[in-house]
Amino acid sequence: MKAKEQNIWIGEKDLNNDPEFHKELQMEFPMDNAELAEKAMERDGNRRDFLKLMGFSLGAATMAAGCDIPVKRAMPYVTKPEDIVPGVATYYASAIAQGGDFCPVIVKTREGRPIKIEGNPNSSMTGGGTTARAQASVLSLYDVNRYKKPHLMIDGKMAVTSWDNVDQAMRAVLKAGKVRVVTNSVLSPSDRNAMNQFAANTGGKVVTYDAVSSAAILEANEQTFGTRAIPSYRFDKADVIVSFNADFLGTWISPLEYTHQFAKGRKPQDRKMSRLVQVESHMSLTGSNADNRILVKPSEQGAAIAALANAIIGGVNGPALNARASKAITKVAGELRKAAGRSLVVSASNNVAEQILVNAINNTLGNYGNTISFNAASMARQGNERDLEVLISEIKSGLVNTIIFNNCNPLYDYAKAGELAEALKDVKNIVGMSYAPNETSAVCNVIAPVSHNLESWGDAEAKKGEVSIIQPTIAPLFDTRQIGESLSAWTGGASSMSSAFDNLQNAYKASYSPASGFSSFQAYWDSVMHGGGMSTDGSVSSSNFSADMGSLARLVSKPASSELEISFFEPVSIGNGQYADNPWLMEMPDPVTRTSWGNYLAVPVGFDGVRKMIGLNNLKDGDLVKLTVGGKEMKVPVIQQFGQMPGTVALALGYGRTNSGPCASGVGVNVNDCLTTENGLTQLYNTDVSVSTKVGEEDYFSCVQYHHAYGLKGTEKSTGERINADEAILGMAYGKAGYQGSITERSVMYTTNLKDLDSNIAELKEKRAFAQDLNSKTLYPYEEYKADRYSQGHHWGMHVDLNACTGCGACTVACMSENNVPVVGKKEVSKHHEMTWLRIDRYFYGDIESPNTVYQPLMCQHCDNAPCENVCPVNATNHSAEGLNQMTYNRCIGTRYCANNCPFKVRRFNWYDYTTADIFPANQVKLNGEEVPYGADNLTRMVLNPDVTVRARGVIEKCSFCVQRIQEGKLTAKSEARRLTSSDVRTACQSACPTGAITFGDQNDKGGELSKKLASDLNYVALEEINVRSSVTYTMKVNNRDETMDA
């Protein structure tokens, strides 16, 4: 029996109307007595703290009575740099490039230290958007764990040394030749040159591999088009997109660029929407944004691609595919044919034959030259893990004397890390050009630490012909060098080291010609620096498509017969472990599973045929299971995942680091060694897997899925009717009349299919009119109040376009960075104590077994009739004349009434001293057993935004609409004696968004960006019927699902 279609739900507990969950919802911060007792026990320092406190008070009293206030000093510059005014931010155009990840940025610095990353709006590739990883990169700069000095093995022990010693040692070692440089994809042309030059000089080779490989695509293109490159895809030009397991909105190749493009093709306001069909087993970020999902097991990917090729080209007789998918694929093929030249098929498969088939499909559809082009090809993936296999055999045959690891970590993220580690024991010299300790640097006998991206000169060519220049925004904090500098120092004599800046400038001398309109090279260079980059020739020669189609069907991967399969995926936040030691990313919940601090086994949820949804093996969220993959046994916690194909489970890569910063070591499990290889290429699935029944419970289940839920509906037990959960708990009578205080349908989310859009707009209009009618029945008419209060000056508001939002999470990290929002750690998250001011709620809707997903970024709604304001006993939260719901920390006494009374659950309480260097250890929390609590050291604190107060323990905080930016924008306008424009004030979340989903502005500015957005008839206001008059407007979520494909 098929489950009924449903309105929105957030997860199994919600859908099954779990009474425990409803009870929890009623509490602002659920915590049982046992836990409270534990909390008391935990604070074993209590007595000592008390004595300290006594001492402190005595001291304070004495000071207050007799002594002067402490003397504060101020140091001006000796010679003030021209472009720095203390107190005013300076911005530098640059780019963040790590491995293949790339984001053109503008770096905000204050008093010479970078504190915030903004996107570079000049970039045609990103349109000014950013990723969560780019946003978080500024925190890595202040990582306490990074290498601060070069290290050298002396008498079997790693010891701190000087660069001179390292250089001497390296020059001696390199004389013997037999050198290999191992690296991930390098976006920088000058670094690539430096490495190639170095290899040529030392008689060695450069080995490139990627933590998550796209080698098959490169090879397929080499075979079929004669060019080893990843073409430039145009998701904005495609009407039908079919993606085989390619998470192009999350992690695949160049997600930022693709996200920006994808959103352009989704404009339901103009009745124009592309259709995205995702073929996968695990629900990826892209899958969650897809209109239709076709569920195939990981091992069936090849069969699915072959089936599509057969339907489009014919003559490809691949292995058999499950019946449902096969029917759907036929249907998709028809659509693709209709949209020939306006369609796009992509695949993340790492099987060359499958990729050639994908190329053949695109070629037959005439997509090359339209939605795919080799001009401006992507450089994001250049690696080939087969070269690592070769390296291992070369080591075994004694061909390698020295290995240099260029900021990569194959001993963790390579599928055959064990084999490599074994082989490395025979290599005499292992050099780690690492940023921070990792699994690979642990076996090195020379550590030549590299500078951070933000400390470096460099270039990045993410797409052929589009060069971004990386300029440093701070002098190296520690004794580190850039790769090119070290390599040049090691090949030449004692004074051969050339500075990265000279190298870079020399490399681009040729790109300047007086014809460019600049009077001198310096003028040209300055303009490039200011704009962030330059365009060069991006054309790539490629031949016409040619492939031996006959043999391909035999070469695609064969579906396995095993009952259960597991797929592995790269999480949006921490990649394959490269970003695991960044606390902001570690705490950022996965957009789909909404888990943080660890990897959780996603298990499918099935309908029991009666009423309940039940997880695989009866597993519930947070249960521990024994997972056996290819003989490796591990204990992992479980998350019930809607949209996960029955007969499959999924687990994230990147966790379970062993030698890393304090926030990554030992968090989650490492599954890189569970990956299989096929023809030397890494496959992100395994068919030899078994999952036990429940063997325990996760100690700190840090999934934020059910935290801070609002306006939820549940099923009334006796009648089975869907009613509002809040009132059901209160035991109120169920009445459809819907006057306030009784049952009303809560407007949390509106969804529709594109074809029903008009009727749903009419329905929405009716619902809104009803809500407004309810609200008008009051003694205090809002319109009068509004006219009186907000008719002049500013009235701030925000619009969030749910059709543009893909849930990528860049805004949440941007918010943490801008507003000094603390990281709290796994245990605290499990207690609902996460501090995020902006969360992205994920809702499912529609078909329970194959649901659609909608993301709702939720921040303080700045209600003009705010319930929180009325209950504050000390008036610490109140309303401004500009419509802001103000929170005054120094007035707050921490009653938390406001948080309890907030219908949107957006207020956060500082249970501990998360950021300040408190004198009482019991007030601080440790993220993961680190020695000095995160945030208490001066290095990490350099990332704090000096314009935003660091909140102390015991106060409430919440989204302020970036009031510091509002004030700054107003001041700029006032100083220039002009009216404020839309571009003067952009909130952190708004400027971080790659799709422009968030618009902030002045509702009184009738010609402004916001007012235009507010005119749309798709708009609704969350919880409009409870008359809180929120200042944030959302749009109805429209999908373009083809329901005939489900059958």
């Binding site: 001006p76 203390p86 005013v88 002049q792 109140n878 107060t949 107003k970 004696a977 002009r978 404020l980």
Partner: protein, 470 residues
């Protein structure tokens, strides 16, 4: 029993009353003297007869006699505002004294001002003996006494006290009569018994707690405030010499004030703009200026910046600057060789230089000068100089006082939240010449129709929490 309770109640009521009015503000010459010393005396001569930075105050009664007393109040609180309205006396004064601004005194109450005026009158009449005269004559003859309403409190106090006594007497008598009727001996309470009764002690404790709480809170609010804070600086920099005598514009050195939240202490290099040429100070000779040279690495003997200065040892630096001090001494005295006095001066000045430019953290002489911050705001306050200086067009002196007269800078204003708020309530927004404020249509209409006289900072949200706290 009843009568006892009643009696104590009356007693308490009357005690409370006495507590109540004893803390009420009133006009007094003594208070006026304190205010004059703290506020007015910085610019106005103490004898009320001679001209100083500001005019002699002795003649105020005549010169303001044509105008209502409120005009004088507004003049004292915010002179610029009154000048702005075109008040004849205000304009006359402004023409005599501009560009010197009179500091605003928004926090002075009417009583405070009357007290000051009373003090001025007293000084005019009694001269230096004014203080003695106060003791002798009380507030006799002072102008403001009529304004005070404390006599009313005294009257009410007297009436209630009389009533209390009377009622207490009545109750006592009634108790006696009742006792007599019942045939029991009447035991009236002695005064000692009344004072040591439980309820009396409870009341006493209660009153103490209230008073203690009040005092604690008001004292606690004072904590961290540093009005009149004037620390010694590492260099005896005189604002009087620079801003007063030489009339250098404040923002020439404090160039952050117009564009940043910080006014900024100028970089040493800014000093060098002038002091590359002016190498000997008028007051301290080489003693202070050499510190500036040593910070920047400038050799005044050769008029060149010293190359590779950062890497010089203390001995090398000492050689350069002691030579300069010695040479200057010789040039000044015309001696051919250093005498003992000269040696002493060189030694003392070098020691002074070292102690000014180094400390525990900064052991090198080279590099920035570590000044002591005079004006400190708590971390949870966001204050922007640019907003006030560029947009609000507030004169520096309005908050910082007559810096151009300060040899050593001291904190003029209390920098308390109440002080900020008061100013935001009074200050008019520069509404007309700034297009930014065009979005305030309603106010513009009201101004045009005369419904509103002025738009204050308060009107556009200047008292809201998140204007300063975020």
């Amino acid at each position: 029993m009843l009568c006892n309770a009643l009696r104590t109640n009356i007693l308490y009521t009357f005690l409370f009353l006495s507590l109540g009015f004893s803390s009420a503000a009133e006009v007094s010459v003594d208070g006026g003297k304190t205010i004059f010393t703290n506020v007015c005396g910085q610019c106005h001569a103490r004898d009320m007869k001679t001209l100083s930075t500001g005019p002699a105050l002795g003649g105020y009664a005549e010169s303001w006699s044509e105008y209502p007393r409120e005009d004088l109040y507004s003049w004292i609180r915010n002179s610029q505002a009154l000048i702005g309205t075109g008040h004849p006396r205000a304009v006359e004064l402004w023409n005599d004294y501009k560009p010197t601004l009179m500091t605003n005194n928004l926090d002075l109450s009417d009583d405070d001002i009357e007290s000051v005026l009373a003090y001025i009158d007293c000084k005019v009449v009694n001269g230096p003996e004014c203080t003695a005269a106060i003791v002798a004559n009380g507030t006799d003859g002072a102008v403001g006494v009529q304004q005070s309403n404390s006599w009313m409190y005294w009257l009410i106090f007297a009436i209630l006290a009389g009533l209390a006594l009377f009622l207490s007497r009545v109750i006592n008598n009634m108790g006696r009569i009742a006792a007599h009727r019942d045939g029991v001996p009447y035991e009236g309470k002695t005064l000692a018994q009344t004072l040591t009764s439980k309820s009396m002690i409870t009341f006493g404790i209660f009153a103490l707690v209230i008073l203690g709480g009040y005092t604690t809170v008001s004292r606690a609010m004072e904590l961290g405030r540093q009005q009149t804070y004037a620390p010694e600086q590492p260099i005896k920099f005189s604002h009087e010499t620079h801003a007063g005598v030489n009339k250098i514009d404040c923002q020439y050195c404090h160039d952050g004030a117009r564009r940043s939240k910080h006014a900024l202490i100028p970089a040493t290099n800014t000093c060098m703009n002038c002091h590359a040429a002016i190498k000997v100070g008028t007051e301290h000779g080489t003693a202070e200026l050499t510190k500036v040279f040593a910070s920047a690495g400038y050799d005044p003997s050769t008029n060149k910046y010293i190359e590779n200065y950062d890497n010089l040892s203390e001995e090398e630096i000492k050689a350069i600057y002691t030579k300069w001090i010695a040479d200057s001494y010789l040039a000044e005295t015309g001696l051919a060789e250093l005498d003992n006095e000269g040696k002493r001066i060189v030694d003392a000045q070098w020691k002074g230089l070292v102690s000014s430019l180094t400390n525990d953290q900064k052991t090198k002489i080279q590099g920035p000068i570590e000044w002591i911050r005079v004006h400190n705001l708590p971390d949870h306050v966001y204050f922007s100089h640019a907003q006030h200086v560029t947009v609000g067009k507030v004169e520096c002196q309005q908050c910082h006082g007559p810096v151009e007269d300060m040899e050593l800078v001291e904190q003029h204003a209390p920098l308390s939240m109440g002080w900020c708020i008061n100013c935001h309530k009074e200050t008019e927004v520069q509404f007309k010449d700034n297009d930014y404020y065009n979005s305030y249509m309603k106010y513009h209409e009201e101004l045009a129709s005369g419904e509103k006289e002025k738009v204050t900072v308060e009107d556009i949200g200047g008292l809201e929490c998140q204007k300063c706290h975020y």
